[in-house]
């Protein structure tokens, strides 16, 4: 199959609109009263405006930009957490989101139980997780503690287990929302090695990060978002330099977008 012909991630004219007024009414009573009086005015907030981009299989892309530029929203439409208000998102291949470590962990459950719970949260089966258990425990270096409730774990232990479980996947597209290095110096090196492994196996990689250094190191391409649009898209080093210069200056919109 000509996999090179089809982008792994493809956004066409994606606009995401948040309805502000409705979302600030948190009570059903108030909602009903307003609806009856016919007073429902929605303010609109454009989180992404008409964004089009294509990421080829094997590309490693970093998303950078100031707070509120739409990075998280872009991430969410690709991770299918939110549907675009307009436009189209296509993601080809198995997607693994590596999000906040320990998402879905429960402190009363044992390490083993949590690994299974999180695995099934990511759409894997219990049987698969049981098969992978030894490998995960070994990577996390927690074989001896697997049957203890994680409330007894140190922060570092929990993070190691979470990282080991979350990265024990073989996806086509890897979505990373934050820095994934956890634990002490030695374990961090292990994390890096595993992430490089994904890279070497030609996985498509999308990283949302505040750290320009991380984007420079692990990405080939960077996209700079500003006010919901693409400010600049190109080789990682080039875009990071431009963004860095802009951020230092504090001058808004140097390129005169629009």
């Amino acid at each position: 199959m000509a996999s090179g012909a089809e982008p792994a991630i493809e956004l066409t004219g994606v606009t995401v609109r948040y309805r502000v007024a409705t979302e600030s009414i948190h009570s059903l009573k108030e909602y009903a009263i307003r609806k009856l009086r016919g007073r429902m005015v929605h303010g609109e907030l454009l989180a992404l405006r008409d964004v089009s981009l294509a990421v080829q299989p094997g590309e490693r892309v970093g998303i950078i930009g100031p707070n509120g530029a739409g990075k998280s929203t872009l991430f969410r439409v690709i991770a299918r957490v939110r549907r675009p208000s307009e436009g189209r998102v296509v993601v080809r291949g198995r997607v693994a989101p590596l999000l906040e470590l320990g998402l879905g962990f429960h402190t009363e459950l044992t390490g083993r139980e949590n690994v299974i719970l999180q695995g099934t949260l990511l759409g894997r089966s219990r049987a698969t997780m049981l098969e992978r258990m030894d490998a995960i425990a070994e990577f996390a270096e927690l074989e001896a503690f697997l049957d203890a409730p994680i409330r007894k774990y140190s922060t570092g232990m929990t993070a190691r287990l979470a990282f080991a479980a979350a990265t024990d996947v073989d996806p086509d597209v890897l979505l990373v929302d934050e820095s994934l290095s956890v634990g002490d110096e030695r374990f961090r090196a292990k994390c890096h090695a595993r992430m490089s492994g994904f890279r070497e196996r030609g996985k498509t990689f999308l990283l949302v990060s505040h750290s320009l250094g991380e984007v420079r190191d692990s990405c080939t391409r960077a996209i700079w978002l500003a006010e919901g649009g693409i400010q600049r898209d190109g080789p990682a080093a080039e875009v990071c330099d431009a963004y860095h210069a802009w951020a230092k200056d504090g001058t808004p919109d140097p390129a005169g977008r629009d």
């Binding site: 948190h26 059903l28 991770a79 675009p84 296509v90 291949g93 198995r94 459950l109 099934t120 949260l121």
Partner: protein, 274 residues
């Protein structure tokens, strides 16, 4: 990439209620784990554990028995079993539909970051409720034996009653869950509905006790029929009448249909509160 490569296309949308059902099936493993998490956590936290789940309905029964044997002129024979057989469904229903509200916190937190069909939470609440109901069979049998009530072959009808009752509770649970995703006051409002609902359902009294001019409330209350399909085989020792059974099934199917349509048409909009 192989031919089986999954493709997510935001533009390709089928019927939502069909899509949501397929998604729920894809995440069935998570439903099982979520259910077992809630059961495990519950029993790990409480010192009395499983015992408490079994004891608490018995305590309520004891209170009602004492109250009613004192105040009622014509006491219901075998009141403890009369009450327990009906409250078996009521407690299941109240527990499932209240539990879904507390699960919305989890659902909102997780689905902000990762896609999962939110109906997994309703499904797991049903799973937890069913487990607790099965556990409550032990004290039920105990009370039957202790109070010298007969054991009937019609007890075998219980799985059918449970199936119908589960469908009904799931439907109401979906509506409550979907609303609770969006509105914070649903929890209190729903609790305010549950209490009077309990009293307009013949659980602690006989329908004949209700004055004729008020009996229509009981007649139009779907809960009456659902409770009856438990009580008839468990307490009376006969199968539910065809009319009762028909109304119960109708209520269950209607509930799930409404619940599922409401859930699938609103969940994307309501699930984004943050």
């Amino acid at each position: 990439m192989s031919a089986t490569t999954p493709v997510y296309d935001s533009a390709r949308r089928g019927l939502r209620f069909v899509e949501e059902a397929r998604e729920l099936w894809d995440y069935r493993h998570f439903v099982v784990e979520l259910t077992s998490r809630d059961i495990k956590v519950r029993y790990k936290r409480s010192a009395l554990g499983v015992a408490w789940t079994m004891l608490s309905p018995l305590m309520t029964m004891l209170v009602f028995t004492l109250v009613f044997s004192t105040f009622q002129r014509q006491p219901i024979p075998g009141f403890p079993v009369y009450y327990l057989s009906a409250s078996m469904f009521w407690l299941f229903f109240a527990q499932v539909t209240s539990h879904v509200v507390s699960l919305t916190t989890d659902a909102l937190e997780i689905t902000k970051r990762i896609y999962i069909p939110r109906s997994v939470y309703v499904a797991s609440a049903v799973g937890v409720g069913l487990t607790n109901t099965l556990l409550s069979l032990a004290p039920f049998v105990l009370i039957v034996l202790v109070t010298g009530r007969p054991v009937f072959w019609t007890w075998l009808f219980l799985p059918v009653s449970l199936l119908i009752g589960t469908i009904f509770a799931a439907g109401v649970g979906l509506v409550v869950f979907t609303l609770a995703l969006r509105f914070v006051d649903v929890r209190d409002m729903y609790q305010a509905i549950l209490l009077p609902w309990f009293f307009v359902t013949p659980i602690i009294y006989e329908p004949s006790l209700v004055p004729a001019e008020w009996r229509w409330i009981i007649r139009y209350n779907p809960m009456t029929y659902l409770v009856e399909i438990f009580r008839a085989p468990l307490y009376n020792g006969w199968l539910p009448g065809s009319k009762t059974l028909a109304f119960a099934i109708l209520a269950a199917v209607f509930s799930l249909a409404v619940g599922w349509f409401f859930y699938s048409s609103k969940v994307e909009e309501y699930g984004l509160r943050s």
